[in-house]
């Protein structure tokens, strides 16, 4: 069983395989040919997602979350925490794959054993729909994730009640600098937008953070200008935005689009190169856009010659 993802989405594939209680491995190749994923199924249930949720990925995620040190074994953290993290990594990966409309899948039937996960594709869809509805609702409250959290004045913080903060709360507080918006913080922390958005909202309720609307909402306005085909106007706004908020990965991405729209491919490549650094998790996407801009630039040069 195999096919292109623009004809049948991954979730439909997984639902079909679940109904048939099939065992085997689905190999999925998305927009980046060099980064294939595999989803292992055992009697129709998802049991492993690799490499995004394998043991090495869990260990790396524990380190990035400051739950283990560089040289610590994963056994320093309890199994329940490790497996919860594995589940989150797998869910994020499957969600990302579900959005792919380029690439292909190949299912190879075979004997498999039970794995660290045991997910029904149908249940996964329901959970992802739940995430999406939270995301949409929060996005509207948080200026499409461009709201910028900053610390409340010390007097306001001190006047609040006893704190009960989670590990994610502390990491968010560590990332808050009054410049980065929620999207940039989520990218920095490698956590889902809706999770970071919910925690930031709670921290604001606890009188620790204040949430500012984007000063000029430059990125949002620039998007509107982009959609209206006003590329120079969009680029101008975005240049101002990245000057003030150099960590705003989304602004760099949009700036690249605006520059391409205006025919300035070299500037677009520069913007996307910065975007690639600011959001390494989207490196594959950035590379493909940079490559496309280079191709366009070369084609134009050839045409001129």
């Amino acid at each position: 069983m195999h096919g292109p993802l623009h004809e049948i989405s991954l979730i439909e594939v997984l639902q079909l395989l679940e109904r048939g209680r099939r065992s085997g491995v689905v190999r999925v190749v998305g927009p980046d040919d060099g980064a294939p994923r595999t989803i292992t199924l055992h009697r129709g249930l998802i049991t492993a997602v690799e490499p995004d949720a394998n043991d090495a990925a869990v260990q790396q995620a524990l380190r990035r979350r400051f739950l283990i040190g560089a040289d610590d074994p994963v056994g320093e953290v309890s199994l329940s925490v490790r497996e919860e993290l594995r589940g989150r990594l797998a869910r994020n990966a499957v969600e990302m794959m579900m959005r792919w409309n380029r690439g292909r899948f190949d299912f190879a039937e075979g004997d498999t054993a039970a794995g660290p996960l045991s997910w029904s594709a149908d249940a996964l869809v329901m959970a992802l729909i739940g995430d999406e509805s939270i995301r949409v609702e929060l996005a509207s409250q948080l200026s499409d994730w461009h709201a910028v959290p900053r610390f409340a004045p010390a007097g306001v913080i001190a006047a609040g009640g006893a704190l009960s903060l989670t590990a994610v709360d502390w990491r968010i507080l560590d990332a808050v600098d009054g410049l980065r918006d929620i999207a940039a913080i989520a990218a920095t922390l490698d956590e889902p937008l809706e999770m970071v958005g919910m925690h930031v909202t709670e921290l604001a309720r606890a009188a620790i953070l204040q949430i500012d609307s984007p000063p000029e909402n430059a990125t949002l306005e620039a998007h509107q200008a982009l959609e209206a085909g006003e590329y120079d106007a969009a680029a101008g706004r975005l240049r101002g935005r990245v000057e003030r908020a150099p960590h705003d990965a989304e602004a760099w991405r949009a700036l690249g689009l605006a520059e391409v729209g205006a025919g300035r491919f070299e500037a677009a490549i520069e913007a996307w190169t910065v975007w690639r650094q600011a959001a390494p998790e989207r490196a594959a996407e950035a590379d493909s856009l940079i490559q496309a801009a280079r191709t366009m630039m070369e084609a134009l040069l050839e045409h001129r010659e």
Binding site: G69, V77, S78, S80, A154, G155, L163, D174, D177, G178
Partner: protein
Amino acid sequence: MVAPAPRDGATLNALRQRIDDSDPVALTNYAWFAARAGRIADALEAARRAASLPAAPRAAWRALERLAIGRSDGLLIATAGAETDENTSHASPLAAAVAAHRQAAHAVAEVCYHAATADPHASSAAWNGLGVLHEQRGETGAADDAWRRSLTEPRVASIHNRALAWLRRDDPRAGRELLGLHAEMVASSAPLLFLLGYLALLEDDASLARVSIERALTIDPELARAQFTLGLVHERLGRSGDALVATRRGLLLSPWYLPQVWLLESQPGVTLVEIPAAPLGGEPGDEVEQVLLTLGRSLLETGHLGEALAVFDQVLLRHPVHTAALFHRGVVLAKLRRYHEALEDWETVVAHDADGDLAEVTRRHSESARKLAHLFGKG
């Protein structure tokens, strides 16, 4: 990833005010946050507080260890329920201090001991640990002060260490006086009885040494340093057979003779942890050689020539020109009629220590050996 801008002190202080002082996880995470913001003193205060609480998470100890040596990197975030049972069992500032002390991580140990002094149940043991730490660093005034505090609630470990410190400062009489002050505790404690005997031996009172050490061994027959020292005492008293028995028992218990150890308590009243006291004016292992020589001499005296030879060989492996070992090996070899080899050993003694105590007698032995070698016509 770009590092966030440093948080200002007022914001951190405001957050700290809202942290529950009895919540080790929150305190640990505040320490992580403050360290990341470059506020090391704030971080250290929170980590100390966290580590002093029951069920302090592993991350609290990590923070304390790193911050105590001036590092702000490598700190961890604590999550309730994130740790395995193994990591959380027996976690206490005192246990952490003793663990660090055993590994010679003195800065960490010091911080943890200070944290432990806040706990009334651990205070005396913690001050005792600090006494040892300061003594090891040569900070005698601070050591005296720490032991004074510890001895407000006298314990075997603190009495022992205080007396040992007097001995090591060339004042064994002060050590014996201290033991006399706590005679009741001494009478029922193997380490204290041993130390009393050891002090007596060093002051040439072999009879008192024998009584004390034999009493220590009735309480704790597996106290290796007492067995070894009893061997030395018997030899001093001219009782070679008993010396041999005691030394052999010691060797069954341990290959090392460490007469001077510091005693620490990781759980007050439960177990004593020993760390070797560095030899004074000698090299590590000198005490072991002393015992081996005693053993060798006892074996020689009691006619166990093969074993005696092996023991002296062992000493000479480490110090090929150890004159006492060479002299005695020569005696063994001569008794085994291996005169040429005996001559070689004795000539080495004379060559290296021409004016020493053993030189004259060695020369006489050499002369006899030459005659005997000639007479028997073999080596």
